[in-house]
Symmetry: C2
Subunit: 156 residues, 2 copies
DNA sequence: ATGCCTGCAAACGTTTTGCACATAG
DNA sequence: CTATGTGCAAAACGTTTGCAGGCAT
């Protein structure tokens, strides 16, 4: 159900964006002595063409007909996370995955009724967080900020 | 490993606090036609006396010797969540549960090295969040804000 | 040719469910 | 007394692993 994502950095066309992300993945794999297989290519493609946050299940269902196994989806998601190309977020049900590259950091508003996920950018919040962390000597590495509630459509 | 919690609202003595939370649970159960059994009482007591965020495993290990089954721990945690007496947070490993009643809302700093969980109160952040939500017609019900990184001790 | 990658099936750890008995109200 | 709660064992679920064969480099 989740929708409403803007995947493309304004400076790049969708096509260029896809090429760019693909190149980054391939380079990152090479750097680690790993291989850019057709399965990994297709899983990344599926993530890029999606207009919502996909779960492992979503990916598997989309790609199983073409012969990709569950294990490979799990393993590829792990590699993508390790490359910081994909981030895992919690939906209302299962973990979901989103492409991060070339996209500004943002937080999530998750509708508990329809599952829609909206994205919010909160530079001011990030700033306050960093200041507080610095003050108490905590070195932030990543964070997860998810607000659950009713989206405007379901609020009625 | 997580520690460093302040469970008591400053206005209440620990003893009064425990009585209060217990009463709230009992009343909430009654309201739903459910029963305040000895198991539920003891699970809540365990959560109240804990000085850290407990996992289901923690609770089970603490209470199994006195004959409480795994199933009951899971089921009771579910009831407690439904009553909004307990909130589920992600640690570095498994889900953990914390009492919410009479405690001000706060966010979490999770150390990925030692597992320590520090709590932060960010009224200013909450305020910004609420303002944004109101602006776009999103009705927030709860939120999860967890920052992962290195605590001051592990930063060295 | 080598060594990483794949798919399958089996293992795994966590959470849920079906059931007969126990117990709170 | 009756409906809800309990504990056990088994099932279900999402995820990981071991292995034999496949493929990118």
């Amino acid at each position: 159900m989740p929708r409403e994502l803007v995947y493309f950095s304004p400076a790049l066309s969708p096509r260029d964006y896809r090429k760019r992300v693909s190149d980054i993945f391939s380079r990152e794999l090479a750097r680690q002595g790993l291989r850019f297989t057709s399965q990994r290519r297709r899983i990344l493609a599926e993530l890029m063409k999606a207009e919502r946050h996909l779960s492992e299940e979503d990916l598997y269902r989309a790609l199983a007909p073409s012969g990709i196994g569950r294990t490979t989806v799990f393993r590829t998601l792990k590699v993508l996370k390790a490359c910081h190309l994909v981030e895992q977020v919690s939906g209302t049900d299962r973990p979901r995955f989103e492409l991060r590259w070339e996209r500004p950091h943002h937080d999530h508003l998750v509708c508990v009724s329809c599952g829609r996920i909206q994205e919010v950018r909160w530079p001011k919040l990030e700033q306050i967080q960093e200041r507080t962390c610095r003050k108490i000597g905590f070195i932030p590495q990543w964070h997860r900020h998810e607000i659950f509630g009713l989206c405007s459509g379901c609020a009625r």
